[in-house]
């Protein structure tokens, strides 16, 4: 068990290292000199040379890489070529917004999907089960931004209960922060919940057919008890897989909802940086995203071994 965790941790760290090199090289081979881009086409060669020296892009690639990655390890992602601001603090702020949004959305999705999906599986031959299946199918088809616009229409415009957009940091005014988070998290969470409901339903349905559930009934457990005590844990493995994938996708995928609700998230920052050809900022964001994806995979792997003893290495 301990050995397994150590092995996975090592794999994770090596992957992060490899990813950082890949991201750096990819940005380095892209055409377009950052100094040239920053100064425009009328800049003199002397000015460009001076700017290159200032950016450090005139040094050998290995020096640039170690300088960059050394900074990243201390939270210094360098200065933007375009705005000359420090990238690190802004990245941290943006990541925070996205993590709150995606985290809240995933909690909503799980809270919806686990009971609904299980119920739909248990009653799959009955009307109520079919209705839930149909409703989740419909939910899958609704894009999150449309859900967002509808929610704004009802809760912000007509009933004036919640703000239609904007962001208040939690340490500034926690009540206002929560009010602002509700609608975007719902827009994202409802749609992801609908997707997840389908996976929970099919995982639970598979589990219901297992012999050990019949054993549980033969012991004297009621059908619901048997499912909760013996079924859900076994159904959790495929659901955790999907949950991990959803989480990874949403870190960038939330950008659409971030735009609808005017939230300063990571996705918006990436789009803006790409549009401004702010290469060093793009490089920083992409690195953070790749690390986040690797981290989610790492955690999902660990969760597997917690859930299913057969996956533990002895």
């Amino acid at each position: 068990m301990i050995l397994g965790i150590a092995r996975r941790t090592a794999i994770f760290l090596v992957s992060v290292l490899a990813a950082s090199i890949a991201v750096f090289l990819f940005m380095a081979v892209l055409p377009g000199d950052p100094a040239q881009v920053a100064l425009g086409i009328n800049a003199t060669p002397e000015l460009i040379a001076r700017t290159r020296a200032e950016f450090g892009t005139d040094r050998p690639l290995t020096t640039q890489y170690f300088d960059w990655i050394g900074g990243v390890l201390t939270g210094d992602f360098g200065r933007s070529y375009v705005t000359r601001d420090l990238i690190g603090p802004q990245l941290a702020d943006r990541l925070g917004v996205t993590l709150w949004l995606v985290g809240a959305a995933m909690v909503i999705a799980v809270v919806i999907a686990v009971p609904l999906g299980s119920f739909a599986a248990v009653r799959h031959r009955k009307v109520s089960g079919t209705v839930i299946s149909g409703a989740s199918q419909l939910g899958v088809a609704v894009p999150a931004f449309l859900a967002g616009i509808l929610l704004v229409q009802v809760f912000a415009v007509q009933w004036r209960l919640l703000p239609s957009g904007g962001w208040t940091p939690p340490n500034q005014d926690f009540g206002e922060f929560l009010r602002g988070l509700v609608l975007p998290a719902l827009a994202l969470g409802l749609v992801q919940g609908a997707v997840l409901t389908r996976y929970v339903r099919s995982a639970v349905l598979d589990t219901l057919r297992e012999d050990y559930l019949r054993t549980a009934r033969a012991k004297g457990l009621m059908p619901g008890q048997a499912l909760v005590r013996h079924g859900l844990r076994n159904a959790a493995v495929p659901v955790v897989t999907v949950l991990g994938l959803q989480l990874t996708t949403l870190l960038i995928g939330a950008v659409v909802v971030e735009r609808v609700f005017v939230l300063p998230g990571l996705g918006s920052m990436l789009l803006d940086a790409v549009a401004a050809r702010d290469l060093l900022t793009v490089q920083g964001i992409v690195l953070v995203l790749v690390i986040a994806a690797l981290l989610v995979n790492f955690l999902v792997d660990l969760l597997y071994t917690v859930i299913d003893p057969r996956l533990r290495r002895s």
């Binding site: 031959r125 297992e210 012999d211 050990y212 019949r214 054993t215 549980a216 009934r217 033969a218 012991k219 004297g220 457990l221 009621m222 059908p223 005590r229 013996h230 844990r233 076994n234 859930i307 299913d308 003893p309 057969r310």
Partner: protein, 268 residues
């Protein structure tokens, strides 16, 4: 008074009748074999007795366990009988246990559930005792292992420990040794015999030798009906029904037909 009385039992799936007019009784301490080929309705009869028929099957007629009517009994009351007054060992030990739970817990659960042990700790201790009773080596350690760490025979011992935990008045074994190799089969049969002195035993199999070892009486099922019943000695020496005769002839590995092949059961 008999422990189990089945009278005029019918089980149907829509229009198809799987079990027709089945009647038999099993008394205290009596061991009854139920034999017949696959699809003859043996397992469906057992599921009806446990009240565990799948949703699309309906039972009619009468099944009483210690005088209580099982057919039509509400689920909650049925669940109080299952695992306490009647229990069942299934054919496939590889999949019958929860892969994500230590086997000791799975044995202890059936006792805590029916409150036959005062608390969790004594249920755990009783589970270890039971695992020893079904002759699992090092029961302390076995209790902490997961099903995938045990062999098929060991898993079937665990199933037997679960089934015997609350001293049920009726034990149903549905082909408990079919999936096991021959040496393990004999050990499991010995265990069943040694631990069911007071219980009524309904033993389903299509292995006639097993019936001859384990049971006193035998019921022969064919096409959803019981076509012959009686003491094992009488049925096996003087079978009355054509199907029973064919079944016995086909299990005789020395006799061959005119083509020199082993005898089989004909369906016409």
């Amino acid at each position: 008074m008999s422990v189990l009385t089945v009278h005029g039992l019918n089980v149907s799936a829509g229009d198809a009748e799987l079990v027709r007019d089945v009647s038999f009784t099993i008394g205290k301490g009596e061991r009854v074999g139920l034999i017949g080929e696959s699809g003859s309705g043996k397992s469906v009869t057992a599921s009806a007795v446990m009240g565990l028929l799948s949703e699309e099957l309906t039972a009619s007629g009468s099944i009483t366990l210690n005088g209580k009517q099982i057919v039509g009994m509400p689920e909650r009351q049925l669940s109080r009988l299952r695992g306490r007054d009647m229990s069942m060992v299934f054919q496939e030990p590889m999949t019958a246990l929860n892969p994500a739970m230590q086997v000791g817990k799975q044995v202890a659960e059936v006792m805590s559930l029916h409150r036959t042990q005062p608390d969790r700790r004594s249920a755990r201790a009783a589970a270890v005792d039971l695992l020893g009773r079904v002759r699992l080596p090092d029961p302390q350690r076995a209790a902490k292992s997961y099903p995938h760490q045990l062999s098929g025979g060991q898993r079937q011992r665990v199933m037997l420990a679960i089934a015997l935990a609350n001293n049920p008045s009726l034990l149903i074994c549905d082909e408990p040794t079919t999936a096991l190799d021959v040496t393990v089969q004999a050990q499991i049969l010995d265990l069943i015999l040694a631990n069911t002195n007071d219980s009524a035993l309904l033993f389903i199999t299509h292995d006639l030798a097993v019936v001859a070892t384990v049971c006193e009486r035998v019921l022969v099922m064919y096409n959803g009906r019981i076509v012959e019943s009686g003491l094992v000695r009488d049925v096996f020496t003087a079978p009355e029904h054509r199907y029973t005769r064919q079944l016995l002839a086909s299990s005789d590995l020395e006799a061959t037909d005119e083509n020199g092949r082993l005898r089989t059961v004909s369906h016409d």
